[in-house]
Amino acid sequence: MSTQSGNDLSYVRTEMIPEKEPPLAETGIIKWVRENLFAGWMNSLLTLVSLYVIWFIVSHIFPWFANSIWDAGSLTECREVRDARFGSDVSSACFAVISDRWQQLIFGFYPSSGYWRPLAALLVFLAALYPVLFSEAPRKLLLLSAADPFVMFMLLWGGSIWGPIAVAVGFGVGIASYRIALPIVGNLFAIIASVVVPVLYWLFLSGVIASALSSVLPIGLPFVESKDFGGFTLSFIIGISGIILSLPLGILLALGRQSDMLIINKISVAFIEVIRGVPLIVWLFTASLLLNYFLPPGTNFDLMLRVIIMVTLFSAAYIAEVVRGGLAALPRGQYEAADSLGLDYWKAMRLIILPQALKISIPGIVNTFIGLFKDTTLVVFIGLLDPIGLSNAIRASTDWNGVYWELFVFIGLLFFICCFSMGRYSLYLEKKLQREHR
């Protein structure tokens, strides 16, 4: 109720009128829609085109997905089920092929009682990554990471436990011979000894020791042959071993490319450019067709190992470029500081330069890995049964001859999940590094 008197001309509002709702077009969804979707004619046009594209794709694919059939023993059965459920002219996905063969797409021909082994190997790999990728982890864990390749090898291929141990001991032999030789013959010869002794050990002793030990104490997992690997397990193994093995070589190549020594520099540059200039598929054909020409007559080892060697060389060149970027990104002062402390080249690299450079390079290395992981699909052209190769083999069985899209959708989805999450991780690392550098 107002209390103003009638003849007083001055007007003083003593009471606020209640707040009005903002105009409908300026609030809530409508405002958001107007600002984000229909601001200006160009923007509106883009929105409409996008909506049309989405509708077009969904309307073509959705019924196929919605009518999918998961329980059938063969494509013919699938068609019968479809005719019974939806009628014969309805498009329908036959995902029964996935429920029938998913183990094969993921594990290849790995014995089904051992499916836990590739999974355990993957877990071991992730555990090994933890101290490498997260600097807050205790440094001692790095030693465990170093042991991981042997554990993974053991888990994947199996066989006697003594083989990988005998090989791993070789590294211990190397370090020991360095320590022993150092006071006697000096640094250089100690280094040479630390290389030569373990090589001799691997060549002549490790086999004997391993077989002796395994005959005395036969511990181990059932042996699985390389030819039984397939599907995503194969992709992961080739990708992961390619990256792990190529790291040392890649770092050496990067250092070589930065080196002042003309010949070393030229050799590194030539290696990197030749590897990077030629498509992976050509290198894979080299592995399968030509590697036997280059090795001593009569030598022969399995295709998977040859592919891993080729992929290692291939990714080493890419890793070298990533690490070179890391080295170049370090401030010049770090190099000069190391020099002024009187550190020699290797010490400077080991203690000052590489730890920093590698840290910057991790996102690049992860991206290289994603690329490599996707590229492992190319091994289908040399007859290894990766997911795509297996999809061909599955189609060749009379049950599933004629199934086409379902297999590709499944494979594509799995690849997407793996690569997308790794990509996100590398992005997160990059952002974190940027924050730390501020």
Partner: protein, 338 residues
């Protein structure tokens, strides 16, 4: 033999395979398995089942040889091989035997240094077209788009056929059978050409097989057979006579069901010689006397293998045709076991 530097250690773990020495038989015996190259997947001829066990007509040849040499039809390591790498894999000693629906040609036998040991399937290149296209003969295909699989003799035959008939065509080369099938069904090509057996197998899996016809022309001879490395005649003899044994067994009525009974001795001297109750044929090959008993006992005779994998009772549904015994008007004709 562990010759590889640095891989010595890996050889311990069994990663590095042994070297190919002159005597393949000794290598196979030492390894305990036969390494056999097969197709990466061809319906009816080679494909892994849901348990990863390889099955098929070509696979059966591998199993037969393993049974002859090692007494165990399952002692086979299968290497799936693409058309591009198959001969290299054989030449380099990666595999001991290649049974990958490979056509026996002069240049492959002589120039590429392989040794074909026989023919396990007489095939020929044919054409499949849609029924509503109204084509009744391959000679009416002037200007047609033709789907072919690359890397095989197929594309050479095709070029020759169209050139001799002086008609034009548009080749659409495709890498795998599955893709070729998809392209053909989508109508991206008018005709699909490959070996007639492959055409029949493919057609059988179509939703409406009746909509497609296989044209009467067979434009090439495609004797498909197993092959071994050039230069080891003894090993070649073993594979050749295992194959002949399969064929002769059908002719003589030896089956997986009655082989054990016949092995005890019959009044047919050739059966006796084959099954080891008479003569020394097995020893001449360096094998056990009951080598063919093992073979037929585990994989059956040629006819049984045919029926189980590609015969009329299977979805592939191939008729015997040329692959009938010579007594039935076919081409299968095993030299005598004598």
């Amino acid at each position: 033999m562990k010759k590889t530097v640095l891989f010595g250690a890996m050889a311990v773990a069994g990663l590095a395979a042994g070297a190919a020495s002159a005597a393949t038989l000794d290598d196979v015996r030492a390894a305990g398995t036969l390494r056999c190259g097969v197709s990466t997947g061809l319906p009816g001829f080679a494909a892994p089942d849901a348990n990863g066990v390889w099955e098929g007509f070509d696979v059966a040849v591998c199993r037969a040889v393993a049974a002859a040499v090692l007494g165990d039809a399952n002692a086979v390591d299968f290497s799936p091989l693409t058309t591009q790498v198959r001969f290299t894999a054989l030449a380099s000693g990666e595999i001991d035997l290649l049974a990958r629906n490979t056509t026996w040609t002069f240049s492959r036998d002589v120039d590429l240094k392989n040794e074909f040991v026989g023919v396990n399937y007489y095939d020929g290149q044919g054409f499949m077209a849609r029924r509503d296209l109204g084509v009744t003969s391959a000679k009416e295909l002037d200007g047609a788009t033709v789907c072919i699989q690359t890397g095989t003799t197929t594309e050479l035959n095709l070029a020759d056929f169209f050139r001799t008939n002086n008609i034009s065509y548009e080749p659409v080369p495709i890498e795998t059978n599955a893709e070729a099938q998809q392209q053909y069904l989508a109508g991206a090509c008018d005709v699909y050409t490959t070996d007639a057996s492959g055409l029949a197998a493919t057609r059988a899996t179509f939703e409406n097989p009746g909509d497609h016809v296989i044209l009467p022309e067979i434009i090439s001879k495609e004797p498909l057979g197993p092959l071994v490395r050039h230069g080891d005649q003894d090993w070649g003899d073993i594979v050749r006579w295992t194959l002949n044994g399969l064929i002769a067994a059908e002719e003589l009525g030896i089956t997986s069901a009655n082989v054990a009974e016949l092995a005890a001795g019959t009044n047919n001297p050739e059966i006796n010689r084959m099954l080891g109750s008479e003569g020394e044929l097995g020893a001449m090959l360096g094998l056990d006397a009951d080598w063919l008993v093992n073979v037929i006992g585990s994989v059956g005779n040629y006819g049984e293998i045919f029926e189980a994998n590609i015969g009329e009772s299977t979805p592939i549904g191939l008729a015997r045709g040329l692959n009938a015994q010579w007594t039935d008007g076919g081409l299968l004709y095993s030299p005598p076991f004598r």
